[in-house]
């Protein structure tokens, strides 16, 4: 069940045609492992926006996850869609595709590995994850806690008797 969002993201990654030109799309693993050779080059990266938008004046940090790693993306705020949906618990965030320069150890940001974005495009909208959760667990929990309370009472009584 957990794999559903992951599969979705991956399928999106494969199906989507990048409109940003002829640049190759990289996965987060490739970006990290080939950071040395890709350093200071323009790359395209695609994934789900997760967590928070951390504003830094005219720019903002996004964390974009392709299901394996989340890559830090530094975006000018005018490129941000106004109603950007962020991935949280039970919510899949917007999938975005970004074009930007990869910095292996960014000089402006204390050596972080990041992508300075010049072009951002939302390829699909976020949506709440519909998942069925079994309700009978509540019953199990209720029964267990009932027995546990009785047990606690029993131990307490035994304790008082032995006093």
């Amino acid at each position: 069940m957990k794999k559903i969002p992951l599969v979705l993201i991956l399928s999106l990654l494969c199906s989507n045609v990048v409109k940003a030109g002829t640049l190759p799309t990289y996965t987060s693993i490739e970006l990290i492992e080939q950071a040395k050779s890709l350093n200071q080059t323009e790359v395209i990266y695609q994934g789900e926006v997760i967590g928070d938008v951390l504003f830094r004046g005219e720019q903002a940090w996004l964390s974009v996850s392709d299901g394996v790693n989340a890559i830090a993306v530094y975006v000018p705020i005018q490129l941000l869609p106004e109603d950007l949906a962020l991935g949280r618990y039970l919510y899949t965030g917007d999938i975005i595709s970004v074009k930007g320069i990869l910095h292996r150890a960014c000089q402006n940001h204390g050596g972080d590995l990041d992508l300075h974005v010049s072009y951002l495009e939302r390829t699909s909208l976020g949506y709440p994850q519909e998942r069925e959760f079994p309700e009978y667990i509540w019953i199990i929990g209720g029964v267990f806690s009932g027995i546990a309370l009785i047990g606690a009472n029993y131990l307490k009584k035994r304790h008082e008797v032995s006093e």
Binding site: I32, W61, S63, A70, G87, E135, S145
Partner: protein
Amino acid sequence: MVIEKPVKRIYPMLYFIGIIIVVLGCLQLVPLVVSLIYKERFISSIFLATASFTILVGEGLMAIGYRYRSTKLSFGEGTVVAAGAWLLGTMLCALPYYFSGSCLSFIDSCFDVMSGLTTTGLCLIQDMDHLSNGINMWRQTLTFTGGQGMVVLALTFLTKDQSNAYKMYVGEGKDEKLFPNAVSTARQIWKISIFYLIIGTVVMTFAARSAGLAWDRAFLHGMWVYMSAWSTGGFAPMSQNILYYHSSLFELCAVVFFVIGSLNFALHHAVLSGRVSEIRKNIETITFTISFIILSSLVTVGLMKNNVYPDLLAFLRKGLFHLISGQTTTGFMTVYAKQFYYEWGDIALVAMTIAMLLGGSACSTAGGFKALRIGVIFETFKTEVKKLLLPESRIVEYRIHHIKEMILSDSLIRSSFLIVTAYLVTFTVGTLITLLFGYPLTMAAFESASVTGNVGLSIGVTSTSMPLLLKITYIIMMWLGRLEFMSIFALIAFILKGGLKK
């Protein structure tokens, strides 16, 4: 006539294990509350079920051993209680992970719990960026409890039958006495921790807020990162770990708290009760500082040679941050695991490996050899050389300063060497097993040191796709490293001797 019947030794032990399990069950109420606040229905139901199940198991054990609860345990049995409670407790604490689907298998769940309780900080948890607040709270609660010690926590609730307290306390890898009584000591440890928890949560909340999080998320993240930092754990709520926040202020606050957390509780106690000069004189802080200076120069050389980071700030925020994080056995990261391997170069990695093995202070939340033992061993070498130069008839006694003046006695030296050797053996075995699965040497050594020292920095070995045997090996290594070997060997010997049958 009264004839005393021999008590089956297992029963009183079960009673004490039961108490610890009950406490662990009650602990699951913390994430239950958080998940209820955030209306995470499914997670709440899971925590209700697992919490009451855990409490039930504990009560069952207590009931079995109830009649024998005032039986005196031997030292060995006390440590067996500690080790056994850790083993059983880990499995029970893994239930929420498993049933909520946060981990793929039960072994993965156990790995994560052990990693949390031993304050290691490696994780196999799935899809961390979409994790519920309840589960995140549970991870940090585990880390926070494991750092101070679950036995220590259980002891604080012990009001009667305290004669066995000290033996269990020792079994959990702590031996300082802040107070003559182990129960008072345990309470003081928790008082110190809660005191810092309040301060730390406030500070980290503001730091997280300044990093750009909304207030409620800043509070949760601040509290979680603080709990992890103080316990030198290394769990962070997001998969990018500390890198997620992109804030040097946030990193700095975290560093301050995990350095404080890696100090000996006895030192905290001394400083909080007014003996500030203790920080300067203590052999642990001296050893830690000296070894840190040496290792940081090594890391500097290594990173400079490979030209890894462009400027001083980057060097501080990456190089030194990870070295401190490694030596205090915290394991917070601001780079991706693989970056260590692809970018850092051998010298820096070896220095990091050594740092992770050395570790923080004894009787703290840190792991590794512990600075006290390094200090003792170093002093022993020094005194042996000094003795060579003195006439044979001269009788000398050497001292070290740890809270008070201590004589460098043979038993102290022996236990230090013993534990350090055990760590080294575990580290070597771990490295070998990792090598057998086809990982390169630097990676194997780095990850193995990280696991043995309960650090949690990863170079990329730990992942859900790693072999099952390796997962189990790492679980055992974390357990050994946290409980400092002896209690686990006692447990194994107890089982082999048929203690369960009799």
